[in-house]
């Protein structure tokens, strides 16, 4: 319990720090955020229109502490302010359109890569020098060493365009509306395959190697020898004794990957024109939509923290040693 409290305390402080930094950073940049928003948007606008924008956007000149307080109040209500690029839509409305897709793509790809990579890693280490071990990890590493952008572009070109096997853009077919129907769900799934596949392809090698290495060192542990000597089935020795322990160090990297799902799909989303937060982040930067940018950064930070908290809790379940 002590452990949980300590961790929770840590996450609370980290979250507060990132929330505060998120508030301060844009305000510490040269020029105040109001001017930045205006300057980027006004282009060759008539001065009277600029005045109208200042009026409409309600750009604040309040003291910093007052702004900070209303910022915190807003957060508590999940009110992240008004997007300047989609004015007067609330930032949350914009983020919502991408959140599901990013979580879906990033989550699915990360989990598949982790599970698959871990299984292959376990098996390669178990049959060290076997067919799987000599073929799969080097191949996965070879593919993983391709520049992602290049790989994704090649996949888009051949699979999507040349052979027309799978769609290579959007999260679902144009003209469809989200509904709990087979047509919509199958469309979402087919649109997910290519982007998720490319992510899995490039990240698989890392997971395999990570798991294989810890598995190899775990296999030389006495408790694995004892399990074998006890006459347990190969399966049980491999999974319950060796893999179960070898998994622990890899959980941390898995947590980090899950945490970075929100920001990690930037290039994927861009190449596959997938409507996620990564694309929104790029756009918010190029349009200097500070409220949107800030919110996305905050989401990323919080999701990294949340994923790590999740891993900590998972550790608590998986590793009895941390419970005391």
């Amino acid at each position: 319990m002590n452990y949980i409290l300590r961790r929770l305390g840590f996450y609370f402080v980290a979250a507060w720090a990132s929330i505060t930094l998120n508030f301060l950073l844009p305000r510490l940049m040269p020029g105040d955020p109001a001017d930045a928003v205006l300057a980027s948007a006004q282009g060759r606008l008539d001065p009277s229109t600029i005045a109208a924008m200042r009026e409409a956007y309600g750009l604040s000149d309040d003291p910093l502490l007052v702004q900070y307080w209303s910022y915190l109040q807003g957060l508590a209500r999940l009110d992240f302010g008004i997007s300047t690029a989609f004015f007067p839509s609330p930032v949350m409305d914009v983020v919502q359109t991408g959140l599901t897709w990013t979580l879906l793509l990033g989550g699915v790809a990360t989990i598949i890569a982790f599970v698959l990579g871990t299984l292959i890693g376990v098996f390669s280490a178990w049959r060290r020098g076997g067919i799987v071990d000599s073929a799969v990890p080097p191949l996965a590493l070879f593919i993983g060493s391709f520049p992602y952008f290049w790989l994704a572009t090649v996949v888009v070109f051949y699979v999507g365009f040349r052979w027309e096997i799978l769609p290579e853009a959007y999260a679902y077919g144009l003209g469809l509306s989200p509904a709990f129907s087979w047509q919509f769900i199958s469309s979402v799934m087919t649109h997910l395959i290519l982007p998720a596949l490319t992510v899995v392809l490039v990240s698989l090698g890392g997971w395999i190697l990570g798991m294989r290495n810890t598995m190899v060192s775990t296999l030389s542990e006495d408790y694995v020898s004892l399990a074998e000597a006890k006459g347990l089935s190969q399966r049980r020795v491999m999974l319950r004794y060796a893999a179960r322990n070898a998994l622990l160090p890899n959980m941390t990297s898995f947590g980090m990957s899950l945490g970075f799902v929100l920001s990690g799909s930037l290039i994927t989303e861009s190449v596959f024109n997938y409507p996620g937060l990564g694309n929104q982040l790029v756009q918010s930067v190029s349009l200097r939509d500070f409220p949107l940018m800030q919110t996305l950064f905050l989401f990323i930070t919080i999701s990294v923290l949340a994923a790590n908290l999740l891993v900590d809790l998972l550790y608590l379940r998986l590793d009895p040693r941390v419970r005391t």
Binding site: L219, Y223, L226, E228, K230, G231, S233, Y241, R244, L318
Partner: protein, 343 residues
């Protein structure tokens, strides 16, 4: 380099052996050259007998233990020999037969109890999975059996639900013994079962092992570098040096009349548990590099009684007195090389 074959009967004190090891060879397949960690080891264990196996670290004694259960980790492989257990050849067993054989017939108390238990499972689970994988028993009965075992080895059964890290070193070692007893095998390997423990706990556990053995009558292959300990628990003792058995004799005989200079050195390096205090003398030099062991008698570079031909000729393990085997030129060819060559 090979050991002269020894007649089966001579290695067994009496009757039919439980376990019979002949010319066992284990190699580590390294990039340089195969390292012969165990090089032609032969011995028998009779039912109910305690055979002590002693030697410096790296002499290959733990490797022998692992080979008996076929749990050697890569890159170690069994390169030759036979291991016969009650008429079955362990080295010829299929995976399935091996799973059956393990623990049912031969269990093992591991060297370091600290690492021998799976840190993420309760000790109870580690006992019952052993039982359940061999016995057609439901889980409730297996749990009951686990309680009995804990009582047998002297741990409060309430500690069954503990994880290994929650137990003291002594308790862990007892738990490991409980696991080894789970299926009541006819034979057990004990690989340095008390090394990591303090002297008081060590004594308690040794006493426990004695009692259990007397009660259940299993054979033990007792491995340790502590020769004085062996003398007390063993019926016979085998001394290993550089992957080979250099002397094999009844415990008391070996203690009182060690023949091999290495055995003599070993005995001198330990204070006797009982009797008058003597000056402890070690063996000069260090154990050989097993990738390139010395020629002839492997002990010759460290031997105070070395003669020229010892570096050329391998001394065979020979019965010099009834039941007392030694591999040393001093006893087999005291007058020079058997072929009459220059000494």
């Amino acid at each position: 380099m090979s050991t002269t074959p020894v007649k089966d009967a001579t290695l067994t004190p009496n009757g039919k052996p439980l376990l019979s090891v002949r010319d066992l060879r284990v190699q580590y397949m390294t990039a340089r050259a195969p390292v012969r960690a165990v090089d032609g080891v032969s011995f028998d264990i009779a039912p109910g007998e305690v055979l002590g196996l002693a030697g410096e670290s790296g002499s290959g004694k733990s490797t022998v233990a692992q080979a008996l259960l076929r749990i050697l980790n890569p890159p170690a492989v069994i390169a030759g020999g036979t291991i016969d257990f009650q008429g079955r050849d362990i080295l010829a067993m299929s995976d399935r037969e091996l799973e059956q054989f393990r623990w049912q017939d031969l269990s093992m108390v591991f060297q370091s109890a600290m690492n021998a238990l799976n840190p993420v499972m309760t000790v109870e689970d580690q006992i019952i999975d052993t039982i359940l994988s061999h016995r057609a028993m439901n889980e409730t009965r297996a749990r009951k059996r686990a309680r009995e075992l804990f009582e047998i080895v002297g741990i409060d059964p309430s500690r069954l639900h503990s994880y290994p890290h929650e137990l003291s070193g002594g308790m862990r070692q007892r738990a490991v013994i409980a696991i080894a007893l789970a299926l009541q095998p006819p034979m057990m390997i004990m690989d340095e079962p008390t090394t990591a423990l303090d002297v008081v706990v060590q004594k308690e556990i040794m006493q426990q092992i004695e009692d259990l053995k007397n009660e259940m009558g299993f054979s033990i292959l007792f491995i340790t570098h502590d020769l004085s300990l062996l003398v007390e628990v063993s019926d016979r003792i085998a001394i290993m040096y550089a992957g080979q058995i250099v002397e094999l004799a009844p415990a008391r005989e070996l203690y009182e009349r060690p023949l091999h200079p290495y055995t003599q050195g070993l005995l001198n390096s330990f204070p006797a548990l009982t009797g008058p205090k003597e000056r402890v003398t070690g063996i000069p030099g260090s154990p050989p590099d097993m990738a390139a062991p010395p020629s002839g008698c492997r002990f010759h570079p460290r031997c105070s009684k070395v003669r020229g031909f010892h570096a050329r000729l391998v001394p065979p393990l020979t019965e010099v007195e009834p039941g007392h085997f030694v591999a040393c030129h001093l006893y087999t060819s005291p007058d020079g090389p058997p072929d009459g060559g220059p000494g």
